[in-house]
Symmetry: C2
Subunit: 396 residues, 2 copies
DNA sequence: AATACTTTCTAACTGTCTGTATGTATCCCC
DNA sequence: GGGGATACATACAGACAGTTAGAAAGTATT
């Protein structure tokens, strides 16, 4: 595909993007500060900030700052003027929220999944969106759009969910369907990419240049943000670290739908390993069914079998973190997904195991958004996607 | 760091970059075709192509193409007008070349490394460059610059080799030294990044959007090209796949200077494993010393011990390829480095092992530039680095 | 308190670049 | 040789960022 040529209009879009991002991350800030910080002339800043103010994306504050000369009039990002709807279609649940562009939650819903076919999932999604739209919020607040994260392969540019087995969706043109029905812009992406975007915009990775979010839940996946932009790969399957191989002996098999690493270290894998260990030892699992949460709880109580399962989990996750660090060297690695609720048991031991193992040890932190990460990422996706968000890059 | 704002001048640079790249990859091409292909107006194409012609980067051809109307005057990239010098400082050798911007080699030298200290390496490098500059070439051909690939950690923007143990260099401002001495632009980068850039520009990965070059030599490293640009990571240590861990049991150790994977599957590692196996079996290595080349040669003769070593090597490399594919999903993976001379023994078996293992199987091919990859990458680096090479990217 | 100084903000103008519109050149086909 | 088609050329208009100079609104100084 050919690169994009530039006209005066796109030049304005690029500068607008940069100024808006600066205001968003540095409010309150005055126009002269923007000019100085970006090395851009005052009139240009004036013109663009005026436009942003007209669009309600930026608002002047009352506060001024003394400088020895004429005082600065401070401006701020006006995230409250718009709301966005974000939905995270998980493997076993659906989390939806409506929030303003500052990331302030206005309303949130959580719907556990009834196991149904494709039609049902779509109908429930529409119902959820309708409920969120009806939630009470400031009278003059407009809706910017809807962002949806789907568990599977997505073509985010086209807005198509190409393959989401847990929903029974195949080549579903979700963007077309939803934007037709709700008459607002709709953005679609992979749920793990959205988690990464959420952490990048509102969570542990705020202000970072590059970030990888390792989401450990039903499966394991990684969302990759490089230079502020989600990296999706040539065949839309970057970040599929559930398919990493924790050893040569995992080579000779087929992994259809579930990868080698995730069959060991995902929530499901943790529970499986615990069950096996207990059965081996002659004990029955505590309550018949057993999930990762219970394993971690038992490990906190220092039960021997659970400690062993958790230790092995730490080993496997260390492998994943080492891989990401050695290959991509991101500024920060965020541990997310359901298992991240037990991140306090994981982060330090993983870092300890990586000492001396990888060339430059990563910053590894727990998700600060928890199960809301993908939803917040969807808000971010809408914010970026509804205005031309474009930057220049120096090759080399 | 703040993103870059745009003025009319940078707008011109961007469009210039895109037009030049199109001419380079699609010569011969007419100006009207460029306008049509890029969706840009004719006058703009005219103006920029005129400038490029004045700079001698583009030349009009005599040939015309009938169209039913006024025939197209074809233009072509004029790579022959400039030469660039590329040097690949390997762990055990120094390869240098002078080539024109089409990638046509004019002269090449190969200097095996005498083991000396920092001063020696630099002096020999300077000598090599001087020899290359003195090589006979077309009279009117100007020299665009010098590109150097160093085996270690480099800060390519600053032109500093921060840590190259095999040369004894630490924080050496190579760019400053060489550009002072030779009075031409100098670019510095990691040798593996340059191999990737070479394959991307002139080798197996020509025209690809993203590429990972896995270089298996004394060590193992990967060069990563995403969106036409080398990706180097936040701490300049992306692509260090020599440090991948082929199993949980490799966790509890320290790897100083040599990673887990490369101690098994690099040229050195292959020789080590072969030696161990032979000693175990009571045989002595054929000639006392033993290197990877000999192991592959023996495997071709179907000697049992060598087949086993090669099979294990294939397993380890499959792990590396699977990792790259699962995490980055590049358009193409190129197998390079010294071991790639035996790529015919490796590529097919690796692909076979990956069938059903990774979500979307990669295109895996052998390097087509061989030991010249990094040198050609250096040429590429000079070509990109000496003119403002800049593009726009849509975030999201 | 009046003045000088400093910094922010505003307005008019200039320069650069791309696009549009129109004109010209050069072929093929009849 | 004329009509049609396509490529190339030129003149002008529009959009945008930068420059310059000046007004506004404070603080420091005398």
């Amino acid at each position: 595909m050919d690169k994009r040529t530039v006209t005066a209009g796109l030049m304005r879009s690029i500068n607008r993007t940069i100024i808006l991002d600066l205001i968003r991350t540095s409010s309150p800030i005055s126009r002269s500060q923007i000019a100085c910080r970006l090395g851009i002339s005052m009139p240009t800043v004036m013109r663009i900030v005026d436009l942003l103010t007209q669009e309600d994306l930026v608002k002047p504050l009352d506060c001024v700052e003394a400088t020895g000369g004429r005082p600065r009039h401070m401006m701020a990002f006006n995230g409250g003027a718009y709301a966005a709807i974000g939905v995270d279609l998980g493997g076993s649940k659906m989390v939806g929220a409506i929030a303003d562009l500052d990331g302030k939650l206005l309303h949130e819903t959580y719907v556990p999944w009834k196991d149904g076919g494709s039609e049902d999932a779509l109908a429930e999604l529409c119902q959820l969106i309708e409920n969120l739209m009806a939630a009470p919020r400031p009278a003059d607040q407009k809706i910017k759009g809807i962002g949806v994260g789907a568990p599977g392969v997505t073509f985010s540019r086209e807005g198509i969910v190409s393959w989401a087995p847990s929903l029974g969706w195949c080549n579903l043109p979700l963007k077309a369907i939803l934007s037709e029905r709700f008459d607002v812009p709709v953005m679609v992406d992979n749920d793990v990419n959205l988690s990464a975007l959420g952490e990048y915009g509102f969570g542990s990775g705020r202000g970072c240049e590059s970030l990888v979010c390792i989401a450990v839940g039903t499966g394991i996946g990684a969302g990759i943000i490089l230079g502020g932009s989600p990296y999706r790969g040539y065949r839309h399957s970057a970040g599929e670290i559930g398919y990493l191989l924790p050893g040569v002996k995992y080579l000779g098999r087929r992994y259809d739908g579930f990868g080698a690493l995730e069959s060991l270290a995902s929530g499901t894998g943790i529970a499986d390993r615990a069950r096996q260990l207990l059965e081996q030892g002659g004990c029955l699992p505590p309550t018949g069914v057993l999930d990762a949460q219970q394993v971690f709880a038992a490990a906190r109580r220092d039960e021997c079998w659970a400690r062993q399962v958790v230790d092995e989990t730490i080993d496997y996750l260390s492998l994943a973190v080492a891989t990401v660090s050695a290959l991509l060297d991101p500024e920060i690695i965020v541990l997310g997904g359901g298992v991240a609720r037990s991140a306090d048991l994981l982060v330090e031991p993983i870092l300890a195991r990586l000492d001396g193992v990888v060339p430059s040890p990563p910053r590894l932190v727990a998700s600060s958004l928890g199960r809301r990460a993908a939803v917040m990422g969807a808000i971010m996706l809408v914010m970026y996607g509804t205005t031309e968000h474009v930057v220049v890059n120096q090759l080399i």
